[in-house]
Protein backbone atom coordinates (compact mmCIF):
# COMPACT_ATOMS: atom_id res chain seq x y z
CA UNK A 1 0.00 0.00 0.00
CA UNK A 2 1.43 3.38 -1.06
CA UNK A 3 0.56 6.44 1.04
CA UNK A 4 -0.47 9.62 -0.73
CA UNK A 5 -0.88 12.81 1.27
CA UNK A 6 -2.14 16.06 -0.22
CA UNK A 7 -0.59 18.26 -1.55
CA UNK A 8 1.05 15.67 -3.81
CA UNK A 9 4.21 16.24 -5.81
CA UNK A 10 4.52 15.44 -9.50
CA UNK A 11 7.40 13.11 -8.68
CA UNK A 12 5.20 11.05 -6.37
CA UNK A 13 2.50 10.81 -9.06
CA UNK A 14 4.97 9.84 -11.80
CA UNK A 15 6.16 6.92 -9.65
CA UNK A 16 2.67 5.37 -9.58
CA UNK A 17 1.73 2.55 -11.95
CA UNK A 18 -1.52 0.87 -12.91
CA UNK A 19 -2.44 -1.72 -10.27
CA UNK A 20 -0.83 0.12 -7.33
CA UNK A 21 -2.98 0.17 -4.21
CA UNK A 22 -2.88 3.55 -2.49
CA UNK A 23 -4.07 5.04 0.77
CA UNK A 24 -5.01 8.72 0.60
CA UNK A 25 -4.86 11.23 3.44
CA UNK A 26 -5.28 15.00 3.57
CA UNK A 27 -7.76 17.41 2.01
CA UNK A 28 -9.83 16.40 -1.01
CA UNK A 29 -12.66 18.18 -2.83
CA UNK A 30 -15.75 16.48 -4.24
CA UNK A 31 -16.87 17.57 -7.68
CA UNK A 32 -19.12 15.83 -10.15
CA UNK A 33 -21.38 16.59 -13.12
CA UNK A 34 -22.55 20.12 -12.31
CA UNK A 35 -19.11 21.26 -11.14
CA UNK A 36 -17.31 19.89 -14.19
CA UNK A 37 -19.72 21.53 -16.60
CA UNK A 38 -19.53 24.80 -14.64
CA UNK A 39 -15.73 24.83 -14.80
CA UNK A 40 -15.75 23.85 -18.45
CA UNK A 41 -18.08 26.79 -19.17
CA UNK A 42 -15.52 29.14 -17.61
CA UNK A 43 -16.90 29.13 -14.06
CA UNK A 44 -14.63 30.38 -11.30
CA UNK A 45 -13.75 28.51 -8.12
CA UNK A 46 -13.83 30.20 -4.73
CA UNK A 47 -10.26 30.95 -3.54
CA UNK A 48 -10.60 28.35 -0.76
CA UNK A 49 -10.98 25.57 -3.34
CA UNK A 50 -7.38 25.07 -4.31
CA UNK A 51 -7.03 22.05 -6.57
CA UNK A 52 -3.33 22.55 -7.38
CA UNK A 53 -1.43 19.39 -6.42
CA UNK A 54 -4.70 18.18 -5.02
CA UNK A 55 -7.45 15.66 -5.60
CA UNK A 56 -10.95 15.85 -7.06
CA UNK A 57 -13.33 13.16 -5.86
CA UNK A 58 -16.26 12.22 -8.10
CA UNK A 59 -18.74 11.80 -5.30
CA UNK A 60 -22.18 12.91 -4.24
CA UNK A 61 -22.18 12.15 -0.53
CA UNK A 62 -25.03 11.91 1.95
CA UNK A 63 -24.49 14.79 4.38
CA UNK A 64 -26.46 15.35 7.56
CA UNK A 65 -26.52 18.82 9.09
CA UNK A 66 -25.80 18.72 12.81
CA UNK A 67 -27.50 20.90 15.45
CA UNK A 68 -24.33 23.02 15.75
CA UNK A 69 -24.39 23.77 12.01
CA UNK A 70 -21.55 21.41 11.09
CA UNK A 71 -21.95 18.52 8.65
CA UNK A 72 -21.56 14.81 9.14
CA UNK A 73 -20.80 12.60 6.17
CA UNK A 74 -22.87 9.41 6.40
CA UNK A 75 -22.25 7.88 2.96
CA UNK A 76 -19.53 8.74 0.47
CA UNK A 77 -18.74 6.27 -2.31
CA UNK A 78 -17.60 7.29 -5.80
CA UNK A 79 -19.88 8.06 -8.72
CA UNK A 80 -19.27 6.89 -12.30
CA UNK A 81 -16.51 9.02 -13.80
CA UNK A 82 -16.98 8.56 -17.53
CA UNK A 83 -19.57 11.35 -17.68
CA UNK A 84 -16.76 13.82 -16.96
CA UNK A 85 -14.65 12.63 -19.88
CA UNK A 86 -15.52 15.69 -22.04
CA UNK A 87 -14.23 18.02 -19.31
CA UNK A 88 -11.73 16.19 -17.11
CA UNK A 89 -8.56 16.56 -19.17
CA UNK A 90 -8.93 20.34 -19.46
CA UNK A 91 -9.63 20.66 -15.74
CA UNK A 92 -6.56 18.58 -14.84
CA UNK A 93 -4.38 20.83 -16.99
CA UNK A 94 -5.94 24.14 -15.98
CA UNK A 95 -6.05 23.58 -12.22
CA UNK A 96 -2.98 21.37 -11.76
CA UNK A 97 -4.93 18.43 -10.34
CA UNK A 98 -2.74 15.46 -9.33
CA UNK A 99 -5.40 12.84 -8.71
CA UNK A 100 -8.97 12.10 -9.71
CA UNK A 101 -10.88 9.64 -7.53
CA UNK A 102 -13.91 7.96 -9.06
CA UNK A 103 -15.13 4.68 -10.43
CA UNK A 104 -15.30 3.02 -13.83
CA UNK A 105 -12.40 4.97 -15.30
CA UNK A 106 -12.08 7.72 -17.90
CA UNK A 107 -11.14 7.78 -21.57
CA UNK A 108 -8.32 8.77 -23.88
CA UNK A 109 -8.57 12.55 -23.45
CA UNK A 110 -8.11 12.24 -19.71
CA UNK A 111 -5.36 9.65 -20.13
CA UNK A 112 -3.46 12.11 -22.34
CA UNK A 113 -3.89 14.87 -19.75
CA UNK A 114 -2.62 12.52 -17.01
CA UNK A 115 0.51 11.95 -19.08
CA UNK A 116 1.08 15.60 -19.98
CA UNK A 117 0.29 17.17 -16.63
CA UNK A 118 1.28 14.42 -14.18
CA UNK A 119 -1.98 13.12 -12.81
CA UNK A 120 -3.47 9.69 -12.01
CA UNK A 121 -6.92 8.18 -11.83
CA UNK A 122 -7.62 6.57 -8.48
CA UNK A 123 -10.37 3.97 -8.56
CA UNK A 124 -12.38 3.70 -5.36
CA UNK A 125 -14.80 0.85 -4.74
CA UNK A 126 -18.19 1.76 -6.16
CA UNK A 127 -21.02 1.35 -3.71
CA UNK A 128 -18.71 1.15 -0.69
CA UNK A 129 -20.30 4.25 0.81
CA UNK A 130 -19.86 3.23 4.44
CA UNK A 131 -16.25 2.06 4.31
CA UNK A 132 -15.34 5.28 2.52
CA UNK A 133 -17.42 7.54 4.78
CA UNK A 134 -15.44 6.11 7.72
CA UNK A 135 -12.33 7.59 6.08
CA UNK A 136 -13.88 11.07 6.08
CA UNK A 137 -12.71 12.50 9.37
CA UNK A 138 -14.09 16.00 8.93
CA UNK A 139 -16.35 17.91 6.57
CA UNK A 140 -14.45 21.20 6.43
CA UNK A 141 -16.66 23.28 4.15
CA UNK A 142 -19.20 23.22 1.34
CA UNK A 143 -19.37 25.38 -1.77
CA UNK A 144 -22.20 25.81 -4.33
CA UNK A 145 -24.66 24.04 -2.03
CA UNK A 146 -27.60 26.21 -3.11
CA UNK A 147 -26.74 26.29 -6.80
CA UNK A 148 -25.99 22.61 -7.36
CA UNK A 149 -27.76 20.86 -4.47
CA UNK A 150 -26.13 18.63 -1.87
CA UNK A 151 -24.94 15.68 -4.03
CA UNK A 152 -23.43 17.99 -6.65
CA UNK A 153 -21.89 20.62 -4.37
CA UNK A 154 -18.15 20.89 -3.74
CA UNK A 155 -17.50 19.37 -0.32
CA UNK A 156 -14.11 19.92 1.26
CA UNK A 157 -13.23 16.74 3.14
CA UNK A 158 -10.39 15.79 5.44
CA UNK A 159 -9.73 12.10 4.80
CA UNK A 160 -7.47 9.48 6.34
CA UNK A 161 -6.37 6.22 4.77
CA UNK A 162 -8.91 6.36 1.97
CA UNK A 163 -8.30 3.21 -0.11
CA UNK A 164 -8.08 3.30 -3.92
CA UNK A 165 -6.31 1.61 -6.81
CA UNK A 166 -4.41 3.37 -9.59
CA UNK A 167 -6.20 2.32 -12.76
CA UNK A 168 -4.86 5.09 -15.05
CA UNK A 169 -1.31 6.32 -14.59
CA UNK A 170 0.76 9.18 -16.01
CA UNK A 171 2.56 6.86 -18.48
CA UNK A 172 -0.40 6.09 -20.73
CA UNK A 173 -1.32 2.99 -18.74
CA UNK A 174 -5.02 2.24 -18.33
CA UNK A 175 -6.41 -0.87 -16.68
CA UNK A 176 -9.77 -0.01 -18.24
CA UNK A 177 -8.36 -0.18 -21.77
CA UNK A 178 -6.55 -3.43 -20.96
CA UNK A 179 -9.63 -5.13 -19.51
CA UNK A 180 -11.86 -3.89 -22.33
CA UNK A 181 -9.47 -5.26 -24.97
CA UNK A 182 -9.01 -8.60 -23.21
CA UNK A 183 -12.73 -9.09 -22.52
CA UNK A 184 -13.63 -8.14 -26.12
CA UNK A 185 -11.24 -10.81 -27.37
CA UNK A 186 -12.69 -13.41 -24.99
CA UNK A 187 -16.21 -12.58 -26.08
CA UNK A 188 -15.31 -12.79 -29.77
CA UNK A 189 -14.13 -16.38 -29.20
CA UNK A 190 -17.50 -17.30 -27.73
CA UNK A 191 -19.90 -15.83 -30.27
Amino acid sequence: MISLTTPITEEKIRALKVGDAVSISGIIFTGRDAVHKYLHDGGVLPPEVNLRDGIIYHCGPVMMKQPDGSWRCTAAGPTTSIREEPYQGDIIRKFGVRGVIGKGGLGDKTLAACKDAGCVYLHAIGGAAQVLAECVKQVRAVYFLEEFGSPEAIWELAVENFPAVVTMDSHNGSLHKEVFAASSAELAKRL
Binding site: A21, T74, K103, G105, A128, S150, F180
Partner: protein, 292 residues
Protein backbone atom coordinates in the same frame (compact mmCIF):
# COMPACT_ATOMS: atom_id res chain seq x y z
CA UNK B 1 -52.25 6.74 8.14
CA UNK B 2 -49.35 6.66 10.60
CA UNK B 3 -48.97 2.87 10.67
CA UNK B 4 -48.71 2.78 6.88
CA UNK B 5 -46.28 5.68 6.77
CA UNK B 6 -44.11 4.17 9.51
CA UNK B 7 -44.11 0.82 7.69
CA UNK B 8 -43.05 2.45 4.42
CA UNK B 9 -40.26 4.37 6.16
CA UNK B 10 -39.04 1.11 7.68
CA UNK B 11 -39.22 -0.59 4.27
CA UNK B 12 -37.15 2.24 2.77
CA UNK B 13 -34.65 2.12 5.64
CA UNK B 14 -34.13 -1.60 5.44
CA UNK B 15 -33.90 -1.56 1.65
CA UNK B 16 -31.27 1.18 1.74
CA UNK B 17 -29.09 -0.23 4.53
CA UNK B 18 -29.33 -4.03 4.22
CA UNK B 19 -28.66 -6.33 1.31
CA UNK B 20 -31.07 -9.24 0.91
CA UNK B 21 -29.67 -12.66 1.95
CA UNK B 22 -29.61 -14.14 -1.54
CA UNK B 23 -27.39 -11.31 -2.79
CA UNK B 24 -25.17 -11.44 0.28
CA UNK B 25 -24.60 -15.15 -0.21
CA UNK B 26 -23.76 -14.70 -3.89
CA UNK B 27 -21.19 -12.02 -2.98
CA UNK B 28 -19.63 -14.24 -0.31
CA UNK B 29 -19.29 -17.05 -2.89
CA UNK B 30 -17.68 -14.68 -5.40
CA UNK B 31 -15.16 -13.53 -2.78
CA UNK B 32 -14.23 -17.16 -2.01
CA UNK B 33 -13.87 -17.83 -5.70
CA UNK B 34 -11.71 -14.82 -6.59
CA UNK B 35 -7.97 -15.23 -7.00
CA UNK B 36 -6.16 -14.34 -3.78
CA UNK B 37 -4.04 -11.23 -3.62
CA UNK B 38 -5.67 -9.54 -6.60
CA UNK B 39 -7.28 -6.11 -6.65
CA UNK B 40 -10.52 -7.91 -7.55
CA UNK B 41 -10.32 -9.83 -4.27
CA UNK B 42 -9.58 -6.68 -2.30
CA UNK B 43 -12.55 -4.93 -3.95
CA UNK B 44 -14.84 -7.75 -2.84
CA UNK B 45 -13.40 -7.60 0.68
CA UNK B 46 -14.19 -3.89 0.90
CA UNK B 47 -17.70 -4.63 -0.41
CA UNK B 48 -18.09 -7.26 2.31
CA UNK B 49 -16.98 -4.82 5.03
CA UNK B 50 -19.28 -2.19 3.61
CA UNK B 51 -22.34 -4.44 3.80
CA UNK B 52 -21.64 -5.20 7.45
CA UNK B 53 -20.97 -1.54 8.32
CA UNK B 54 -24.12 -0.23 6.59
CA UNK B 55 -26.32 -2.68 8.46
CA UNK B 56 -24.66 -1.99 11.81
CA UNK B 57 -24.82 1.79 11.46
CA UNK B 58 -28.22 1.80 9.73
CA UNK B 59 -26.80 4.02 7.00
CA UNK B 60 -27.10 3.67 3.20
CA UNK B 61 -25.05 0.87 1.63
CA UNK B 62 -24.41 3.21 -1.29
CA UNK B 63 -24.66 7.00 -1.24
CA UNK B 64 -26.65 6.89 -4.47
CA UNK B 65 -29.93 5.72 -2.99
CA UNK B 66 -31.32 5.58 -6.47
CA UNK B 67 -34.63 5.79 -8.24
CA UNK B 68 -37.35 4.82 -5.79
CA UNK B 69 -39.51 2.14 -7.41
CA UNK B 70 -42.51 0.77 -5.54
CA UNK B 71 -44.54 -2.21 -6.78
CA UNK B 72 -47.77 -2.86 -4.92
CA UNK B 73 -49.96 -5.96 -5.12
CA UNK B 74 -53.32 -5.03 -3.66
CA UNK B 75 -56.87 -6.33 -3.34
CA UNK B 76 -59.89 -4.97 -5.19
CA UNK B 77 -61.07 -1.76 -3.53
CA UNK B 78 -57.63 -0.75 -2.21
CA UNK B 79 -57.26 3.04 -1.93
CA UNK B 80 -54.38 3.69 -4.32
CA UNK B 81 -54.58 7.47 -4.01
CA UNK B 82 -54.15 7.35 -0.25
CA UNK B 83 -51.32 4.87 -0.59
CA UNK B 84 -49.47 7.01 -3.11
CA UNK B 85 -49.82 10.13 -0.96
CA UNK B 86 -48.47 8.22 2.03
CA UNK B 87 -45.58 6.97 -0.09
CA UNK B 88 -44.56 10.52 -0.88
CA UNK B 89 -44.74 11.49 2.79
CA UNK B 90 -42.65 8.45 3.74
CA UNK B 91 -40.02 9.24 1.12
CA UNK B 92 -39.75 12.83 2.34
CA UNK B 93 -39.35 11.64 5.93
CA UNK B 94 -36.85 8.90 5.03
CA UNK B 95 -34.78 11.53 3.23
CA UNK B 96 -34.74 13.74 6.34
CA UNK B 97 -33.57 10.75 8.36
CA UNK B 98 -30.71 10.12 5.93
CA UNK B 99 -31.90 6.73 4.65
CA UNK B 100 -32.16 8.38 1.23
CA UNK B 101 -29.87 10.96 -0.32
CA UNK B 102 -31.39 14.22 -1.59
CA UNK B 103 -31.48 12.59 -4.96
CA UNK B 104 -34.14 14.08 -7.17
CA UNK B 105 -33.39 16.92 -9.57
CA UNK B 106 -35.79 19.04 -11.63
CA UNK B 107 -34.66 18.19 -15.16
CA UNK B 108 -35.51 21.62 -16.55
CA UNK B 109 -34.21 23.96 -13.84
CA UNK B 110 -31.51 21.72 -12.35
CA UNK B 111 -32.89 22.43 -8.87
CA UNK B 112 -32.78 19.78 -6.17
CA UNK B 113 -35.35 20.66 -3.52
CA UNK B 114 -34.09 17.95 -1.21
CA UNK B 115 -37.39 16.10 -0.79
CA UNK B 116 -36.99 13.28 -3.36
CA UNK B 117 -40.57 13.99 -4.43
CA UNK B 118 -41.51 15.39 -7.81
CA UNK B 119 -42.80 14.38 -11.22
CA UNK B 120 -42.05 10.67 -11.58
CA UNK B 121 -40.42 10.47 -8.16
CA UNK B 122 -41.08 8.16 -6.50
CA UNK B 123 -42.86 5.82 -8.91
CA UNK B 124 -45.59 3.51 -7.66
CA UNK B 125 -46.87 0.62 -9.78
CA UNK B 126 -50.11 -0.97 -8.65
CA UNK B 127 -51.27 -4.44 -9.50
CA UNK B 128 -54.69 -5.55 -8.36
CA UNK B 129 -55.23 -9.18 -7.42
CA UNK B 130 -58.08 -11.34 -6.07
CA UNK B 131 -56.30 -12.12 -2.81
CA UNK B 132 -56.74 -9.93 0.30
CA UNK B 133 -52.98 -9.62 0.70
CA UNK B 134 -51.19 -6.28 0.41
CA UNK B 135 -47.58 -6.72 -0.67
CA UNK B 136 -45.23 -3.79 -1.26
CA UNK B 137 -41.94 -4.35 -3.03
CA UNK B 138 -39.28 -1.68 -3.30
CA UNK B 139 -36.17 -1.34 -5.43
CA UNK B 140 -33.67 1.48 -5.04
CA UNK B 141 -31.76 1.59 -8.29
CA UNK B 142 -28.69 3.80 -8.50
CA UNK B 143 -27.74 5.94 -11.46
CA UNK B 144 -24.42 4.27 -12.22
CA UNK B 145 -26.04 0.95 -13.02
CA UNK B 146 -29.05 2.59 -14.66
CA UNK B 147 -26.74 4.39 -17.09
CA UNK B 148 -25.28 1.11 -18.40
CA UNK B 149 -28.70 -0.36 -19.21
CA UNK B 150 -29.22 -0.81 -22.95
CA UNK B 151 -31.96 -1.45 -25.44
CA UNK B 152 -31.21 -3.10 -28.77
CA UNK B 153 -33.42 -3.25 -31.83
CA UNK B 154 -33.01 -6.46 -33.83
CA UNK B 155 -31.68 -7.10 -36.35
CA UNK B 156 -28.43 -5.40 -35.38
CA UNK B 157 -26.04 -5.65 -38.29
CA UNK B 158 -22.94 -4.53 -36.44
CA UNK B 159 -23.32 -7.32 -33.90
CA UNK B 160 -24.65 -9.78 -36.50
CA UNK B 161 -27.65 -10.25 -34.27
CA UNK B 162 -30.78 -11.55 -35.97
CA UNK B 163 -34.32 -11.92 -34.75
CA UNK B 164 -33.84 -15.15 -32.81
CA UNK B 165 -32.53 -16.31 -29.44
CA UNK B 166 -28.95 -16.34 -30.71
CA UNK B 167 -29.38 -12.68 -31.71
CA UNK B 168 -30.72 -11.93 -28.22
CA UNK B 169 -27.71 -13.66 -26.70
CA UNK B 170 -25.31 -11.55 -28.79
CA UNK B 171 -26.80 -8.22 -27.79
CA UNK B 172 -27.11 -9.16 -24.11
CA UNK B 173 -23.43 -10.12 -24.03
CA UNK B 174 -22.57 -6.90 -25.85
CA UNK B 175 -24.34 -4.99 -23.07
CA UNK B 176 -22.18 -6.81 -20.49
CA UNK B 177 -19.05 -5.97 -22.46
CA UNK B 178 -19.97 -2.30 -22.86
CA UNK B 179 -20.89 -1.98 -19.18
CA UNK B 180 -17.44 -3.21 -18.03
CA UNK B 181 -17.15 -2.07 -14.38
CA UNK B 182 -19.10 1.15 -14.79
CA UNK B 183 -22.31 -0.23 -13.30
CA UNK B 184 -20.54 -1.41 -10.10
CA UNK B 185 -20.11 -5.05 -10.86
CA UNK B 186 -20.46 -7.83 -10.09
CA UNK B 187 -23.92 -7.02 -11.37
CA UNK B 188 -27.24 -8.67 -12.04
CA UNK B 189 -29.01 -8.44 -15.40
CA UNK B 190 -32.74 -8.08 -15.88
CA UNK B 191 -33.68 -8.78 -19.47
CA UNK B 192 -36.90 -8.48 -21.45
CA UNK B 193 -37.14 -9.90 -24.95
CA UNK B 194 -39.90 -8.09 -26.84
CA UNK B 195 -42.42 -5.50 -25.74
CA UNK B 196 -42.32 -1.87 -26.82
CA UNK B 197 -39.53 0.47 -25.76
CA UNK B 198 -41.24 1.40 -22.49
CA UNK B 199 -42.63 -1.99 -21.46
CA UNK B 200 -39.40 -3.72 -22.45
CA UNK B 201 -37.38 -1.72 -19.95
CA UNK B 202 -40.17 -1.92 -17.38
CA UNK B 203 -40.39 -5.71 -17.53
CA UNK B 204 -36.61 -6.02 -17.49
CA UNK B 205 -36.58 -4.15 -14.15
CA UNK B 206 -39.35 -6.28 -12.68
CA UNK B 207 -37.02 -9.26 -13.09
CA UNK B 208 -35.01 -7.85 -10.17
CA UNK B 209 -37.75 -9.01 -7.81
CA UNK B 210 -36.88 -12.63 -8.52
CA UNK B 211 -34.48 -14.27 -6.08
CA UNK B 212 -30.99 -14.82 -7.42
CA UNK B 213 -31.11 -18.57 -6.95
CA UNK B 214 -34.50 -19.17 -8.60
CA UNK B 215 -34.75 -20.81 -12.00
CA UNK B 216 -36.82 -19.66 -14.93
CA UNK B 217 -39.90 -21.84 -15.51
CA UNK B 218 -39.50 -21.41 -19.27
CA UNK B 219 -36.78 -23.84 -20.43
CA UNK B 220 -35.55 -21.61 -23.27
CA UNK B 221 -35.22 -18.57 -21.04
CA UNK B 222 -33.65 -20.69 -18.32
CA UNK B 223 -31.02 -21.93 -20.76
CA UNK B 224 -30.39 -18.36 -21.92
CA UNK B 225 -29.97 -17.12 -18.35
CA UNK B 226 -27.48 -19.86 -17.49
CA UNK B 227 -25.57 -19.39 -20.73
CA UNK B 228 -25.22 -15.60 -20.35
CA UNK B 229 -24.12 -15.99 -16.72
CA UNK B 230 -21.48 -18.57 -17.61
CA UNK B 231 -20.05 -16.67 -20.56
CA UNK B 232 -20.09 -13.28 -18.82
CA UNK B 233 -18.02 -14.79 -16.02
CA UNK B 234 -15.49 -16.11 -18.54
CA UNK B 235 -14.81 -12.64 -19.96
CA UNK B 236 -12.51 -11.54 -17.15
CA UNK B 237 -14.15 -8.14 -16.54
CA UNK B 238 -14.44 -8.89 -12.84
CA UNK B 239 -15.55 -6.86 -9.82
CA UNK B 240 -15.46 -3.11 -10.59
CA UNK B 241 -14.02 -3.99 -14.00
CA UNK B 242 -10.66 -4.68 -12.32
CA UNK B 243 -10.32 -8.02 -14.11
CA UNK B 244 -11.35 -11.21 -12.31
CA UNK B 245 -13.70 -14.13 -12.18
CA UNK B 246 -17.05 -12.67 -11.18
CA UNK B 247 -18.59 -10.26 -13.66
CA UNK B 248 -22.24 -11.12 -13.00
CA UNK B 249 -24.03 -12.62 -10.01
CA UNK B 250 -27.17 -13.47 -11.92
CA UNK B 251 -29.23 -13.13 -15.09
CA UNK B 252 -33.03 -12.96 -15.04
CA UNK B 253 -34.95 -12.88 -18.30
CA UNK B 254 -38.55 -12.69 -19.44
CA UNK B 255 -40.35 -12.19 -22.70
CA UNK B 256 -43.27 -10.05 -23.83
CA UNK B 257 -45.16 -10.08 -27.07
CA UNK B 258 -43.98 -7.63 -29.72
CA UNK B 259 -45.29 -6.09 -32.90
CA UNK B 260 -44.24 -7.77 -36.13
CA UNK B 261 -42.26 -4.63 -36.95
CA UNK B 262 -40.38 -4.39 -33.62
CA UNK B 263 -37.96 -6.68 -31.85
CA UNK B 264 -36.46 -5.02 -28.81
CA UNK B 265 -34.14 -6.60 -26.28
CA UNK B 266 -34.05 -4.48 -23.15
CA UNK B 267 -31.35 -4.96 -20.55
CA UNK B 268 -31.31 -3.41 -17.10
CA UNK B 269 -28.21 -3.73 -14.97
CA UNK B 270 -28.34 -3.81 -11.19
CA UNK B 271 -25.18 -3.10 -9.22
CA UNK B 272 -23.85 -5.41 -6.50
CA UNK B 273 -25.53 -3.02 -4.04
CA UNK B 274 -28.77 -4.71 -5.03
CA UNK B 275 -31.28 -2.89 -2.91
CA UNK B 276 -34.61 -4.63 -3.07
CA UNK B 277 -36.91 -5.58 -0.28
CA UNK B 278 -40.61 -6.14 0.27
CA UNK B 279 -43.22 -6.40 2.98
CA UNK B 280 -46.72 -7.69 3.44
CA UNK B 281 -49.02 -5.28 5.23
CA UNK B 282 -52.12 -5.63 7.37
CA UNK B 283 -55.29 -3.74 6.42
CA UNK B 284 -54.21 -0.84 8.63
CA UNK B 285 -50.72 -0.81 7.18
CA UNK B 286 -48.62 -2.64 9.79
CA UNK B 287 -45.80 -4.85 8.56
CA UNK B 288 -46.81 -8.53 8.84
CA UNK B 289 -43.84 -10.08 7.07
CA UNK B 290 -40.70 -9.50 4.99
CA UNK B 291 -40.48 -10.90 1.47
CA UNK B 292 -36.71 -11.22 1.03
Amino acid sequence: MNALKDSLIELIRRTSVELPDDVNQALVRSLENEKKGTIAESALKIIDQNIELAKRKSQPICQDTGSILFYVDCPVGFDQIHFEETTRAAVTEATKKGYLRQNSVDSLTGKNDGTNVGPGAPTVHFHQHRSAEIAVRLALKGGGCENVGAQYSLPNEKLQANRDLDGCRKVILDAVLQAQGKGCGPGILGVCIGGDRATGYEFSKQQFFRKLDDRNSNPELDALEQDILKIANELGIGPMGFGGKTTLLGVKACSANRLPASFFVSISYMCWAYRRQGVTLSVVGEITGWLY
